[in-house]
């Protein structure tokens, strides 16, 4: 009997739990949002003084040949192979840069510091880095600045005063706009959409969702948000959650946002196995390799991320501009070759631009 009572309590608990259902886009945080303009006009940069560091008595490098070393988090993976390619592209285009990529084969901060230390000792003019740890990397970068070396980060920042500039691949509101616009392009402005995220409290995902809700309200007010489900970073759980969403909403569900590189392919798989390709759109953040099967089968049309080749290219262009003295503290933009003028944000960061949308036409060119 006790056990029967227990079962009853559990069922009751489930029923009362349903009263907790929220109405806003759950999974977002409560921080202020800053949705971009619907047509993509860049928002005016908030004035913030330069907070980066500066090299001590750097030699005049204007127009002269410089040697640059790029030390990413690790080497030998597709993502940093792509940034390295961008750096080489820019160096070839500039013609006065001798750039090489070297670094640890595991994402290990101690090994990364050793690599940087060795290159500082051997003497280089510029360092590009993607930090394994923003604080632990600071002393060795400061040492480089003290030796007059130009230091620019990309992909993963250090604390600002340990480097001169940082190329920021994407801002939260930019990612949010790209996701919501891609979804609206596929399902129309009035479709019902659901979100598969990691957890409601994961900082990046919560920020993106909050910005997505703000942008959708501003630019696609009739897009109907149905539900956000949590799936941690677990492939099978993401699949099960997405499948349950499809079962629950039936034809009312027109699209699923995947908020992690795990949730997006798992949602695409759920749509595929439910036989709903073409009826339910999947738009999300993911790496191209995980999404290729779905994009090639036309089950997924847009995968949002940034282009790591462009990221490396921009970092190299910024470093050249710093060495030439054309990018000074207080600047509001920088010329970055074929990418055009890039905007300065947050004092000493340079925004790569709009996120990159991988589609059937371009996805085969990426391997990460």
């Amino acid at each position: 009997m006790k056990k029967l009572t227990m079962a009853a309590i559990v069922s009751l608990g489930l029923m009362t739990g349903s009263a907790l259902a929220a109405s806003a886009w759950t999974g977002g945080d409560d921080l202020p949002t800053n949705p971009l303009a619907c047509d993509g006009t860049p928002s005016p940069a908030a004035a913030k003084p330069y907070d980066g560091g500066s090299p001590t008595n750097p030699p005049d490098r204007k127009g002269k040949k410089i040697t640059v070393v790029d030390v990413p988090k690790l080497i030998g993976i597709g993502y940093f192979n792509a940034t390295s390619k961008g750096i080489q592209d820019a160096a070839a285009e500039l013609g006065n840069v001798d750039a090489k990529t070297d670094g640890p084969t595991k994402a290990n901060i101690d090994e990364q510091i050793t690599f940087l230390d060795n290159y500082i000792t051997s003497g280089v003019d510029g360092i590009l880095f993607a930090a394994n740890d923003p604080v632990a990397i600071a002393p060795v970068l400061k040492k480089a600045l003290e030796k007059g070396i130009n230091v620019v980060g990309y992909d993963a920042n250090s604390i600002p005063e340990a480097r001169q500039w940082f190329v920021n691949q994407a801002e939260f509101n930019g990612i949010a706009k790209a996701l919501v616009d891609s979804m609206a392009a596929e399902v129309g402005d009035e479709g019902g959409v659901a979100i598969v995220t990691s957890t409601f409290t994961t900082p990046n995902q919560a920020r993106w969702i909050a910005e997505m809700a703000a942008y959708a309200e501003k630019c696609h007010p009739k897009m109907k948000w149905l539900e956000t489900v949590e799936a941690q970073e677990d492939n099978n759980l993401s699949f099960n959650q997405a499948t349950t969403l499809i079962n629950k909403y039936g034809d009312d569900l027109k699209g699923i946002f995947g908020m992690t590189s795990v949730a997006t392919p798992a949602s695409a798989e759920a749509v595929t196995q439910a036989g709903k390709c073409g009826k339910i759109a999947v738009v999300g953040l993911a790496t191209p390799n995980a999404m290729k099967p779905y994009v090639e089968k036309d089950c997924v049309k847009s995968v949002v991320l940034w282009n790591p080749v462009d990221l490396g290219y921009a970092a190299m262009q910024v470093l050249r501009a710093v060495a030439d003295g054309t990018l000074q503290p207080g600047a509001t933009s920088v010329k970055a070759g074929k990418l055009g003028d890039l905007q300065v944000i947050n004092g000493s960061e340079i925004l790569l631009g709009s996120p990159y949308v991988f589609t059937k036409e371009n996805i085969a060119g990426f391997d990460f």
Binding site: S11, E230, N235, N236, F239, N240, T244, A266
Partner: protein, 324 residues
Amino acid sequence: MTALSAHPGRSALHRFIGGYGQEIVVLLSIVALFVVVGIINPRFLSDTNINSIFAGNAYIAIAAIGMSMVIIAGHIDVSVGALIGVIATIAGTLAVNGYPVWVAWVVPILFAMAVNAGVGALVAYTRIPSIVVTLGMLSILKGGLISITAGEWISDLPTEFMIAQMRPFGIPSAVYFMVLLTAVAALFMRYTDFGRSIYAVGGNMEAARAAGINPERTVVGVFILHGLFAGIAGILFATQLQVIQSTVPPNLELTVITASVIGGVSILGGTGTVIGSTLAAILFACIGSALIFLNVSAYWLRAVLGLLILATVLADMARRRRVT
């Protein structure tokens, strides 16, 4: 059983309920959930949703069969989640490197049985508590997996490898595996000498020895069987999706142990059935799906499972006190 002899007037039905008490509770909870959630949202009862509930968690039910045997024998295995992750990676690696699919299915299962034979031998012959041995194995498997794969996922799996995606007669193959393996294991536990010796060893090792059972051999055998079920679970896990994540599914071992315990397997060993653990795994899947249908955060699943564990163990304790 002693409790029953104190009430000789009880009917056959009462005896049946006495023997399968926990299983019946879990089954009734499943039925209650289907009825309640089905009334609130009839789509919960659609055949596609019922298929996903059963298929999505079948691998947990299958792993829980082996886990139940281990716990009935008086031991525990906290490394099963990591083992399933390793099996999935081995199977996927073999499949994408062009080995015949049967090799990709069978070799990882044999690997799992070999690993668990080692664990079982350590537990049985050195008398190191199983939680310590398997905790060590958990670290070895988890660390080894991350180091060897470097976090890379396996994709581009061949279609014929995806056994969990096959649907004979419209029903996911994982469901057939779950039902068939549960039935075979239940009969095995009840009607074979080896099956009954597992209960005997878990109930009282010295008494079992006096009755002519070799407890060490039984424990090694149980762990090997557990490896077999974990291996099959790992293959179904690996073939459910198009990619195999090279990380160990978080908390999988806890979910599997929870299924055994809520299914009525006493954590002290000696009692329980594999039917109970399979029903409990289905109950979890139902609760997980119901939470979404009722708009409740998935975090409640863990809380609900925790409550279920406490309630089940308390009920088990109370039952034991009544018996003695």
